[in-house]
Symmetry: C2
Subunit: 615 residues, 2 copies
């Protein structure tokens, strides 16, 4: 949904400027080695930039079809890795740059292994590795692979294919040379034909952008969400593009443009900035090395203007630490007595919550672990909130595991919250912790519960123990503090006892607010249901506390549901009785209201203090 | 300051395991081409990993001195770039990988230009580019450069230097060949000597780790904070390391290990993961290609275990958006009347605040701009909070500039907060906006002021205009609502009028709380001074509102300073008078307390609502 003023994005504006600037470049010559390619209009010119998040920016002739040619090579290399595994592929094709032209044969002395999969010899050896019993099934497999990358069905340009096949003598020679060295184990004919077919796949500049973005996004097509290649092979595909993708221009390309790239003789170029974006450019006129003139200019300008050089990256810093606080600053929604609140304020700094964010890899996790072990002097309870973490890789999992183990050995619990979207972390912990997994890997749904658990442990250690199912008397109610026994008695005469079973609702959201509740025994919690459907705890009360008073004060309907966490006994005070009290015993009503303002004030100060930490 | 349980970091534990594992490797042979190198103990073995944040992890013989040898080449290449600029350097040395061994001569046909600066011929041509009139000043310049990278003075190992010089016939031959092609313009003798000297600089594994981390940190030594090389040249240094750093092993190195790297014949290896970390390894036994056997094994293991491959990166996503909210959810600390609060709740979603974080580059800024222009339907006021942003590069500045311009053209202001630590952004805006800079680039100290400015504009557009210097009567005081005229009169008789000049303190932090204040005319603001020394506004009050009541309620000293923003008139109500009122007119005291509980309740609900957004 675009708004009126944003009919064009700033990124699109920029690409239009680039397109206009380089459209006037007239250098280069359209490939003529087959008649079909010679038909290309030298003015065709498209640019497409696709982010790893799946936003597409395209300008010019971005939907003009042309043949993929050599840009197919890295994708087929990825398919060969998927179909055979890395060792089998490396036995047939190397990965050293040659510094030679695209059609050099460059076989390794001795083994006959082509130097790398980006030269024709290596590409043909790679094509031979596509799985499938017949030429037809292998072609189908090839097209299915391309469809996953492009997010749509791709077809062959038959005219180009026939033309390639009729004139492809040099590639047939390469095929036989490979057969001679047993790099191809069968008649090279069908493999060379399949190679001509892969080069004749018809794509658009838009397709190239999406295909490049799929490589930038660890093999997941960012538009369809489908996996085109396993993540572990993406780095291999990008490595050969980076070191050998632009033939004898590879070193200069990495030096000046700094992105793995591949060009095709029909005028296409792709470039990939891992984790960030993919670029497709199409313009048929080629330079003497066989690379698209405008394609190179556009990639060069984009790299310089947008600082896309792979090796020019700012440091991550402690960017993974979104927010950090202790229980001396922010507490769980368990409502505490003034004495408990004081103990938490005093000792709560030993309970530390780290809210992490982004991608946790070695460097970001190291910064987190370093901060935990150094910046914070005495973490006795550690809560790691992973809600905003996008991914956790294995090396980050290992660092967190080692941290957990060290903490556990010192009797200091680590609690993880919001880990359900990160199954790798749980699997890693399970594999490493074995029998101790359920004891040591504490995973909770939210910080609030985790914080309460830690607070309770801290309070148990610092305050005298309480009876577990303690009931209190009206003299203990927080709002009746400083009352004389006579005053307590008068107020008590207005109270009505109510009893609730565990899980029973005491207040329903939307109800009229007719009374406030004094909790005599058990615990009760306030819950709201968020727009997302998740239930969220706002507060938990213990005996002696008042609840349900706010709606009574501002005469609004109940805003939340209050539920008995345990068997609960309450004393309720009715609105009319409160008002009558003002008439009959104004001094009691005044004292009661004063206590209420003190209670509200304390909670407001706490909320404001916590809010100020978020700025 | 380490704590008891963290005498070792998990990262250090891991490096110790690696060291133990590879210490048992006995393959390889210590270099023997000069007697001095042959004296090295093959058991020497050190590993040092330094993060771009400056955390050092080192194990084994990490402080054993050895000579830097070819690892000097990329650093000297950086120095040549600094001293001559890129075009002059490129005229003398190329950047294409050769696939040949380190001592290959590999001059480009025609120009005689060495293929790249990592082979000896290219390195000698590079050394010739170090600025300085005499050999001594050039050596001094070289050592100063190394000192910046290592963070300490480095010296020559004279024995190794003499030995190199006595046996360096091949390098002298290379020197004369370069002279022959006019790559060297003078007698090659002194340059070749300086080359022997640069190879004889004595370093430790710890030094290598720090030097590598300096390259990972865009040229800033992360331990000293000093700049060793300009950021723009770091990508060039890393590019030649990446494409040519490991000689004929370069393609495989990038394929399997995936970090720019350089090895030396004395057994050192460095590897760099830009933005993240640097690695130094030292172990003298070499493989047949002249690379340290254990050095390669350690880098390979680190890369695999810690997922350090440069081309294997997760997507950034919308990681730059830390928090986003509208003025319908969270408001400035300007205290609003119920009517104003209602208007903000209803229309405030057109005021949107983006709290950004981390490094803003093209990809992260694109995601932000895309979110602003698409996800949020109708942003009429945009606040960009850059407090947690670490860096903004030029391409991100351009996107923000273009966004600002589009918004401005539609009459929609963009406000930036916390931009002082990002001078590049301001400079960029100034250069691009020219005469419109002061009008369009609104930069405020904090979100609160920015939010209030936007809220005020919104309220002006939606509510009837108020008199600018309006004074209110006691009947308008929020706490006297629902009072009868007679009740107002009784209460008013207790009030004492006070007058303050603009900027005068009404309440000082720490004072006893003897009275509450009713604001009759003007504005007053509450300020606290944070531990950091910055003054922070907590609230601003308008006529009719009460302030200073919380300390009166909970009988605590004043917690903040309250200052007259304008000329101010207040009515004060004294504690003793309030108490006396309870005796003489309990019904008025009750009404007053009831109004106070309603006011506190409203503020507590607002604070809780805002707090819940931060989870």
């Amino acid at each position: 949904m675009k708004t009126d003023i944003f009919c064009t994005s700033p990124v699109l504006d920029y690409l239009r400027d680039l397109h206009r600037e380089f459209a006037s470049v007239t250098e280069g010559k359209v490939a003529t080695y087959i008649p079909e390619l010679a038909k290309a209009d030298p003015n065709w010119f498209g640019i497409c930039l696709v982010t790893a998040n799946g936003t597409v920016y395209e300008v010019g002739d971005s939907r003009q079809p042309f043949t993929i040619q050599s840009i197919s090579k890295p994708f087929v290399y990825g398919l060969a890795l998927e179909d055979n595994g890395r060792p089998s592929v490396l036995a047939k094709v190397g990965m050293e740059p040659t510094g030679d032209a695209f059609n050099s044969i460059s076989l390794e002395p001795g083994t006959g292994r082509p130097r790398n999969p980006m030269i024709n010899a290596g590409a043909i050896a790679t094509t031979a590795l596509i799985a499938g019993k017949s030429p037809a099934t292998r072609l189908r497999r090839l097209l299915e692979m391309f469809a996953l990358y492009a997010g749509r069905e791709l077809t062959l340009d038959d005219a180009v294919y026939r033309s390639e096949s009729e004139t492809g003598h040099r590639n047939r020679a390469i095929g036989y040379m490979l057969r001679n060295f047993d790099i191809l184990s069968e008649d090279p004919g069908p493999t060379v034909e399949l190679y001509f077919q892969q080069c004749s796949v018809s794509v658009t500049c838009h397709d190239l952008g999406v295909m490049a973005a799929t490589l930038a996004n660890r093999g997941i097509n960012p538009l369809t969400g489908k996996q085109a290649i396993r993540a572990e092979y993406v780095e291999s595909v990008l490595s050969v593009m980076g070191s050998c993708g632009m033939y004898d221009y590879a070193g200069e390309w990495i030096y000046t443009i700094g992105m793995p790239a591949k060009s095709g003789v029909a005028g296409g170029v792709i470039a990939v900035l891992p984790g960030q974006l993919g670029i497709g450019v199409f313009s048929p006129p080629l330079d003497s090395r066989g690379n698209s003139v405008r394609g190179i200019r556009v990639c060069d300008a984009l790299s310089r203007h947008c600082d896309l050089h792979l090796l020019n990256r700012p440091r991550t810093g402690k960017g993974a630490i979104r927010f950090k606080f202790t229980a001396a600053e922010i507490n769980s929604s368990r409502v505490r007595t003034p004495q408990e609140a004081q103990a938490l304020h005093q000792f709560g700094s030993s309970i530390v919550v780290y809210q992490l964010q982004g991608n946790l890899d070695f460097a970001t996790a190291e910064a987190v672990v370093h901060d935990i072990t150094h910046a914070t002097a005495s973490v006795r309870h550690l809560i790691l909130d992973l809600k905003k973490v996008l991914t956790v890789n294995e090396s980050a999992s290992r660092l967190l595991y080692q941290l957990l183990l060290k903490m556990a050995d010192a009797g200091r619990p680590v609690l993880f919250t919001h880990v359900d979207h990160l199954p790798l972390l749980r699997r890693y912990m399970k594999a490493k912790l074995g029998a101790r997994f359920s004891e040591l890997f504490r995973s909770l749904d939210d910080n609030d519960l985790a914080l309460e658990w830690c607070e309770n442990r801290l309070l148990e250690a610092t305050l005298p123990a309480r009876e577990p199912d303690r009931a209190v008397q009206p003299t203990d109610y927080e709002l009746l503090q400083n009352f004389t026994p006579a005053e307590v008695e008068i107020l008590t005469s207005l109270l009505k006892r109510r009893v609730y079973q565990q899980t029973e609702a005491i207040i329903e959201s939307g109800d009229d607010a007719r009374e406030m509740f004094f909790l005599a025994r058990g615990n009760a919690s306030v819950f709201v249901t968020l727009a997302s459907g998740t239930r969220r705890r706002l507060a938990t009360f213990s005996p002696g506390m008042v609840f349900g008073e706010m709606a009574v004060i501002d005469r609004s309907p109940r805003s939340a549901r209050i539920v008995a966490d345990t068997a609960v006994e309450c004393d309720t005070l009715n609105v009319e009785d409160i008002e009558r009290l003002g008439k009959s015993h104004p001094e009691i009503r005044i004292k009661f209201l004063e206590n209420l303002t003190v209670s509200l004030c304390r909670r407001l100060r706490k909320a404001n203090r916590e809010l100020s930490l978020h700025d």
